[in-house]
Amino acid sequence: MAAKFDQNDDSVVVIVGSGAGGGTLGNELAQKGIKVVVLEAGKRLDFSDFINDEWPSFTQLAWTDMRTTSGSWRVHKNFPNLPAWIVKSVGGTTTHWAGASLRFQEHEFKEASTYGHIPGASLLDWPITLADLEPYYAKAEDKMRVTRTGDRAGLPGSNNFKVFEAGAKKLGYKEVHTGRMAINSTPGDGRVACHQTGFCFQGCKWGAKWSTLYTEIPKGEATGNMEVRPDSHVALVEHDASGKVTGVTYFDADGKLQRQKARIVAVAGNSLESPRLLLNSASSKFPDGLANSSGQVGRNYMRHTTGSVYAVFEQPVHMYRGTTMAGIMRDEARNDPSRGFVGGYELETLSLGLPFMAAFLNPGAWGREFTTALDGYSNMAGMWIVGEDMPQETNRITLSDQKDKWGLPVVDVHFDDHPNDVAMRNHAFGQGKAMYEAVGATRTFPTPPYPSTHNLGTNRMSANARDGVVNGYGQTHDIKNLFISDGSQFTTGGAENPTLTIVTLAIRQADYIADQMKSNTI
């Protein structure tokens, strides 16, 4: 039933990427009768192909093509060629994500106004508000079957959650529960309920967790309006003399350069690859890259202020049993500058298997201080910090002098923590440690940020074309038929895991694109 479109068909919408943004946009457009070609750099798997084993799964799913890093962040030291832990596969990072689905708070759309001037930060208000997104958030939550929204029940609490919850309550925290998760708490949408298997990060072998791979994409294909081409690495977005984009070139599975014409191009390759594609598409007409008259393409890269706290107890926890991130404490998510920083953070349960715990607990460490921590693995509980980080113009994606196997410049990811990020992380480390010590932890560990899973902001939305790359619908200020459809649109990062907002923006963008096509504006 999946469509097959001619490469010279210039009436199609080409979407680059099939994750939360691209996969959702593709289905939404296809449902409206619009013809869509989705180009995905990765291969196509079925959820039965996923592997309950961390390193082999990483090899199966992760984007491991060359990338470089710079800056003072620790990832540059420990993982110089792995700035981000994101996926190259049909479904993108929705195969790997944990499922936490939180709406942004109202003030997080107007941070420049709310926080005032923060030295070194390039804060800007979004051109849209929470009220603009609310109806679309509701649609996204229904689509993704998010627990604790609509009439959907929460997931049951695992051992790791019970430790987390008991500690949070001892500290007097109020908003503590098993999360708003895009994981079936009851069977629905043709998918089974969560079996508490663990391995959420390795792709859900039950299909209980929402991923575009087995929801949006097959639904879009079933309309007959959508074609997904895996193993298609987009090289350039092309344009005509008037400056309108006309299609893309891409390398197919055999390394052969192909061209797909298009009426509209929507780029959804995540906050690293999307700006890379715009920059690599520089031409004599657009010497600084496409949609870059503001000079903002690639800038304001955000990765959330993260970190983990692990604790060892006298008795077993077995934190790896059960849904990885079904546990949250939201009391610190508010903006309360009296804590010594603006913005807020969430604490969420987390666990890693032994192989990844060895790699990430304290990268580079050795000797007994490290190994005795791992000796306590079965008695360990864990949590993750997800907080807002300050956008900074100098945190940015640029083209590296290194090239990939097709000869295309790869990205360099430059990142330095802002003092606000450091203050927030230290506060969160302290609160996490206090939660665990309140229920008897004998030892706690502050774990530094992993390679980034939340990559945001490098093609940001702005009301004014000089301040950003896209408008409130993700349409580039410079080129009317070029859109950005992923987390790189985010003007600021908020304290919330970003996927729900990416999906929400994609649903809203699909309405806008359909309207614009209908009125022949584009």
């Binding site: 390193w55 051992n159 298997t197 663990g198 006298e314 059960g322 032994l354 060895a358 580079g364 000797g367």
Partner: protein
């Protein structure tokens, strides 16, 4: 073959029956045969060494334990984690020189008896710290993170249960069985 023998064979070690060792300690636990193999009598395994000097391979196994010491993890897991260097050295003279040079430097710094002859872990760790600027140290350490901890056979020692999908996940197998809170 028994299950243990199968595992050893898959990992490139062979099981051999030998008399119980009489001496204690790592230096005595792993013997070097006249044909250049390493023998661990009490754990009943042997490792043929082809690319490196057998003494070097033996030292590397102790270096691995000193970098990531887990007292409940037997020598054979450290041997499995390190035997790749012997394979690499066999086909790569530059690699061989780098590894032999790293171990020779450790032995030189240790004085009489070399690294293995240094009886206390704290002293050997001090030797490793002094040698940690050598890129070979970081190669060995970072390699061990995968080659040691990704051996499924050691996961039960840490209480990690591994794959769970085929068992139906933990929904009926203790995901919420905590009783001490």
């Amino acid at each position: 073959m028994t299950a243990t023998e199968t595992t050893l064979a898959r990992e490139g070690l062979s099981r051999r029956g030998f008399l119980q060792r009489s001496a204690s300690g790592f230096a005595a636990a792993i013997a070097i045969t006249s044909t250049g193999a390493l023998l661990n009598v009490s754990e009943a395994w042997a490792l043929d060494v082809k690319g490196l000097k057998p003494e070097t391979m033996k030292t590397l196994i102790l270096v691995a334990r000193d970098i990531y010491p887990h007292d409940k993890v037997a020598d054979r897991f450290y041997a499995i984690a390190m035997k790749g260097y012997d394979d690499k050295a066999a086909g790569n003279p530059a690699m061989k020189a780098e590894i032999e040079g790293f171990v020779a430097a450790l032995d030189g710094a240790a004085g009489e008896g070399g690294y293995i002859g240094s009886p206390w872990e704290a002293d050997r760790v001090a030797l490793l710290k002094n040698q940690s600027a050598d890129p070979m140290f970081e190669t060995i350490r970072s390699g061990l993170v995968v080659s040691l901890y990704n051996q499924k056979e050691i996961w039960p020692i840490f209480g990690y249960e591994g794959e769970s999908f085929s068992k139906g996940g933990y929904i009926e197998r203790g995901f919420d069985d905590i009783s001490w809170l």
